[in-house]
Each structure stands twice: as C-alpha cells, then as structure tokens.
Symmetry: C2
Subunit: 410 residues, 2 copies
C-alpha cells in the first residue's frame, strides 16, 4: 500500500460520541430503547451529519438510517446501531456508526480515493421488538407479517403502533441493491476482556458465533412440604439444581476453547414456599462458532438427561428451541483490518470470534462482511458503566478508516 494515511480527527470522533451520549443520557451511559424519543433524536442527529460526509440521508419504513453516496467507484457499506439496551452503555452501537461517519467524511471528500463509504444505522439491533429487524429488512429477510407480529418485549406495544407514533408508518423499506457494495464493515466494543487482558487494541473478528437454545424440563411429583418425608420426595427443583451442577462439572472436558454456556432462567412449578416443586424448567444457551462442538455438547446434554431420568426420581427432557448459525467474516476483510492494525495500532491485534450477535452476521448473508473490536474496560457490557479509554477509541477509528481505504483500493 502507498503511504496514504487517512487523517482521522480524534477529537471530532469523541465529540460526536459524546453528542450521542447527551441524547438520552443515564448516569455515564444512555437509555434509548428502540423508537423512544432519544432514539429518534439520535437518528435525526445522524441524518443531519450525513450531507457533510458527502452522503444523501434517508430514514426508511423500519427506522434504518442510510446515507447514499453519489460518488463514482466502489462503495463500502459501514455502520452499526443507535438504540441501546435499557440503562446501558454509550458506545454499544454508536461507536460503529461514528467510525463509519468519520470514514465517510475523510474518504468521500478525498479525490485521491476511488470510491466511497456509505453509512447505515440499523434499527433495533438490541432486540427490543425482535431479532435484527433493521438489517434483516435491508437484506430482504423480513416480511410484512414479521412486522405485524413484532412487539416491544417490555411494554407489549406493537411495532406497527410504534412506527405510526414516530411517523414512519407507510414509508417504504430500503433493501440492498445487489452488487452495489463491495461489502460491509462494522466496528463495535468487544464486550469482553480478551483485548484488555492481552494489552491489545484491535480484535479482528473471524466469525460471529451461533446461539443454540434449549428448554430443559424436569418432572417430579408436587407434594406437601411438611408431610412428605425426604426419602419419598420427587423434587423437580432439586433435580434441576443437580443438572446445572452436572453441566458445570462435565462440559469443560468436552467444550471448545471459546464455548460458553448459560442458564439464564429457572422456573419452579408451582413456586410456593410450602410445596415441593412437581415441575421445573430452565432456559439453557450455548454459543460457539463450530457446530461440531455444539453437536458434541448437545449429545452430552441428552446423555445427562437420560442418566438423570434413569435414576427414577424425576424425568428430564431436553428440547432445542433455537439452532445457531455461525457467520464467517470475509478473509479479505480480516486481512485489511490486520494490515490497518499493523499500520495504525502497532500490530496490537488478535483474530477472535465474536460471542455476541451483530448486524454484520445478517449483512454477511448477502455480501462480504468484516468486523473489528475495540477494548471494553473490565469487559463490562449492557450496563451503564460500560466504557472504553479515549485513546483506544481514537486508535480504533484510525484502524477502521485505514481498513476502509484498503478495502476500496481492492
């Protein structure tokens, strides 16, 4: 590559991120659920910045903000999201949008660069109403019936009502023009501790892991907590607790190097202090980028359920609710990020899978896609204390813009 370093304005990047934090601020983070007033103001803020980056701004019928470039040459799509989890961090989403905006400002105005960066803010990546509704709409994987069915998980408000209230009902939804983009690049905070604990600046995402989800049900016998002797009980809650401990004891010998698993919800039935639970249920999730590892663990899970049932006290069933589809990031995009890290971050980068889901996994279904991570302080995520050092934010922007330039150069 020729020595054509982009001129990232670090203070401008930080000022933009702080401007977005001021909209819907909560302590040092933000509270911007999808289609809330601060979320809509954040979309408007972005639409107002796009013309200065040489882009024509539009907001479509599902709340995606898209900036289109009239410049000739190859086009790279870049972005992330602007709504937040409830009472959560300021960088989760806005970081990738502001990096894309900065790249557009630098590259689209540079007559020495053949091509341009187009900016996107995908609506509802955080899943208040569904799963990646904005980016799925853009790739053509969201039907009108899907929108009819979508409801806010907290309030129960329908997505149709929400779209009407924010003035987007009836607008057309933008969909990808096939062949327009050489690919999609997204930056995000890591949301984990790999970069921080390794003293690294950049994570080069190799894949976005799939999520497999299970309902594990325990059936025993409901009975009186005072009159039923311990030796005749068939306590479904106790069977569940033993099963959780069994997973924790046995999974490490069979899992992959980065497999994670979580029991996020437990319900005992009937859930009364004086009644031995006759039934119990847990929601169990596994994530990996290798379906082969998950196959092995699912077999172990089913074996454990059969063993527990054979002991006779309670019956254990395992039901798969969701099958993961890991998304591979494009090899050329990984190479461009690695080269940019070498040029702008002293090579302090590592290739790593993403344990969290991102819009890039949806865009990857129709075009080459890549992602880069910046460090999260203490690995904190989905909490208002989430943060990244200013210096890491600026280094990330420099790597991002340089990677865009390299990708457009082909």
């Amino acid at each position: 590559m020729p020595d054509h370093r982009p001129h990232v304005d670090g203070s401008r990047v930080l000022a933009d991120l702080n401007a977005l934090r001021d909209i819907g601020a909560y302590k040092t983070g933000v509270h911007k659920p999808t289609f809330s007033e601060p979320h809509m103001r954040s979309l408007q803020w972005l639409a107002q910045q796009l013309p200065a980056a040489g882009l024509i701004a539009g907001i479509d019928g599902i709340g995606n903000v898209l900036g289109s470039s009239p410049k000739s040459g190859p086009k790279l799509l870049a972005g992330s999201h602007l709504e937040s989890q409830n009472y959560a961090g300021w960088l989760d989403g806005p970081l990738g949008v502001v990096y894309a905006l900065e790249a557009a400002r630098i590259i689209n105005a540079d007559p020495g660069i053949n091509g341009s960066v187009e900016v996107a803010a995908w609506c509802d990546e955080e899943g208040h109403f569904g799963s990646f509704l904005g980016s799925r709409s853009y790739v053509g994987a969201l039907t009108e019936a899907d929108i009819d069915a979508a409801r806010d998980r907290s309030s129960g408000r329908t997505m149709r009502d929400a779209l009407r209230e924010v003035g987007l009902a009836g607008r057309p939804r933008a969909t990808a023009e096939r062949g327009r983009h050489i690919g999609y690049l997204e930056a995000h905070i890591e949301q984990g501790q790999t970069l921080e604990s390794g003293g690294l600046a950049i994570g080069i995402v190799t894949s976005i892991v799939g999520i497999w989800q299970y309902r594990i049900t325990f059936t025993g016998e409901q009975n009186h907590a005072g009159t039923t002797r311990m030796d005749v009980r068939r306590d479904a809650g106790l069977a569940l607790a033993r099963f959780c401990v069994g997973i924790d004891d046995r999974f490490p010998a069979s899992c992959g190097p980065r497999t994670v698993w979580t029991t996020g919800r437990i319900v005992l039935d009937p859930g009364a202090p004086s009644i031995i639970p006759g039934a119990a249920e847990m929601l169990f999730q596994m994530r990996d980028d290798d379906p082969g590892v998950i196959d092995r663990l699912e077999t172990l899970l089913r074996d454990m359920a059969a063993e527990a049932s054979a002991q006779g006290r309670c019956t254990v069933t395992v039901e798969r609710l969701r099958t993961g589809s890991p998304a591979l990031m494009n090899a050329a995009f990984q190479q461009a990020i690695e080269a940019a890290s070498a040029a702008c971050a002293g090579g302090r980068s590592i290739r790593m899978p993403s344990g969290a889901g991102h819009d890039a996994q949806v865009l990857a279904t129709i075009m080459p896609a890549g992602m880069l991570f910046v460090p999260s302080i203490g690995g904190v995520s989905h909490h208002w204390t989430e943060n990244t050092a200013d210096a890491d934010i600026v280094t990330g922007a420099e790597v991002f813009v340089d990677a865009c330039r390299r990708l457009l150069a082909g």
Copy 2:
C-alpha cells in the same frame, strides 16, 4: 372404661362427606376457596345439621361456624375447616368437621354421658387470606387491623370486601369463653405416607412442627452470555444450584429423624436467556418439632453460605424470614386417642408429629388440644386425587367418637 361403645353410623359419616363433596365438586375433589359460593354453601350445610346434634348454630363475623351446646356438664370443642385449597381434595378439612358432627350427634343425645361435644368449622385454615385467621380470631389473637390488611393471595380482593359480599360484614366475632371447654380435638387426613406404609389406621399427633423460613441470596456479576469467558464469570444462578445440591448432600448427617426441608421458589435476576444472572434468590423452608435440630441446621446453612462466599465467586447471605413455634399436643388427649385406637382399631396406631400446620396448634395456645390422623392413599395432599379408603374413614370416626367420650369421662 366401662363398655359403653358409641354407635357410629359409618354410612351417615360417608354420606355427609359426599354431600360436602357435591358442593363445589371438581373431578373427584373440590374447589372451594375461602368465601367462594361453594364454601359459603358448605358452611350453611353444616349450620343446618347442627340442631339435630343438639347444638345451637351460629356463623360469626369472620366466617367461623360454631355449634353451642345447652347440655350441662363438661364440654369438648371439636372441628376442622370446610374451605379447600384450589382444585384440591375432598377430605382435607371436612373429615374433621363431619367426625365432630357425628360425635355431637351421638354424645349430646346420650343421657348416659355427662357432657357434650361442641362443633367448630374454622374459616380459612387453608390460608387464602392469611394464616389461620378463623381459629386465631376465636383465641383472641387476631386484631381488626389484621383483618383490614388481609387479601386473597390469588385475586388480591380484600378480606373486608369478601366479608361484605358474603353478608358477614358487621357481625361480631365469637371468642373462646375461658374455662368453657376441657379442650379441643381435631381429626385430619395424614397428608403423608407414614400410616399407609406401616399398615396403620390412626396417627396420634404428638406435636405440630414449626416452620422456619429463609431467603438465601446470591450476588455475582451480571454480564453478557456471549462475550464473557467461562473462567471469569460470577454466575449467581450456578452458585444457587451448587448451594441447593450442598444442602441435599450435607443436611442428612445433621438433621433429626423427621426433619424436612424444601426449596420452593427460585428466581434468577434478570432471568433472560442471554444474560448471566447477577443475582439469584431461593425461598428455603425447614420443619421440625425440635427447635434444637433447627438451630443445628441453621448453623450449618450459615457455615455453608460463609464457605461459598469465601470461594470468592459469589456472595451468599442467609436471612431468616419466619421462626417456627412447634405446638405440643396434650398428653391426656394423646392417651385418650391411644385407648380409643386400642378399643376401636385393634391398636393399629402410632404416635407421630404433624408436618403440616392445623388449627389445633392455634387452639393449643389457650386449651389442651389433641389431633388424630387417618391414612392418605399414596400420601397425596393438596391435589384433587387426595383420598382415604372408606373403611379407614369409618374406623377413624369410631376412634374419634370414642376418644371424645373418654375425654368427657375425664
């Protein structure tokens, strides 16, 4: 004792129990929550039977039905309750009321017996609105403020509204006339398997166990279920599961012969499939008639919490919510039941504590009290399949009436 065997009419006892089952029938059981239409009709049914047993019937301002005897001589109070748990069994309550009614019919009409049996149906023993409200009112342990605060646990309806709707608002509440009764006798289904598994007909209750209740709280760190490596997690739900298993493994070495313990409710916070629980809580209950045993187990519980906290992943705290007060049954009452079992049931009786709470524990605070149990098929309780063999019901009635006669004879 002279050979003055009472003439229990077994078919009349079974017919009365079936008449009560027909009011609010649900499958082979009943659904009669406190102050429901079938509950009120059951109280009226009882009030209509009392005159034929030589009793003056009344229903008081909290829904207690009381039959007063004008006969001279010692008076024995006997009874149980007529409301049911939701969709529950036909004998839990009515058995003791019908036995008391049968005893009053036989004894109060017998000029050869000095004294009489008075019948009570205590309101809300099943705790829809509170804890033993009817019998507590009778012993003088329930204030007007307690009634003001009482609400139906299912519907939230206040007890005041319920009393008004069933026409009892403004009636005086009956309270025990000190010295009127030689004591209180109550029969009940066992709700466990001790009698059935031993081929026995009668349980002579020695004590009603106390209930100690605890909230055990686990505090870890809430984090992202995808991006947080297994080795840095502080999963409060997993800590809870390990604690439950620890109780199950370690309590048997320290408990008494009849101690029971139950985790009836578990809540993970925030309870979402993609979030590692940062906090978790369990409701834990222990029952025993020996507070010394509970002291030992509570010490073990607190030691286990300290050990778990010391391991550093999660902090565990144990908070006692309720302290048990075991109630001893009167020795002379136990002897009378034992003698009656020898005379009427071939001595197939056993002395045993009651693991469930009963109105007798409330009456025991102001007068001598005794209880007898009849077998429960399969130990089933608080379910519509609850049942007792007809022959066991009749034998129980014979023992009950004979015990009444022996107690009145002094």
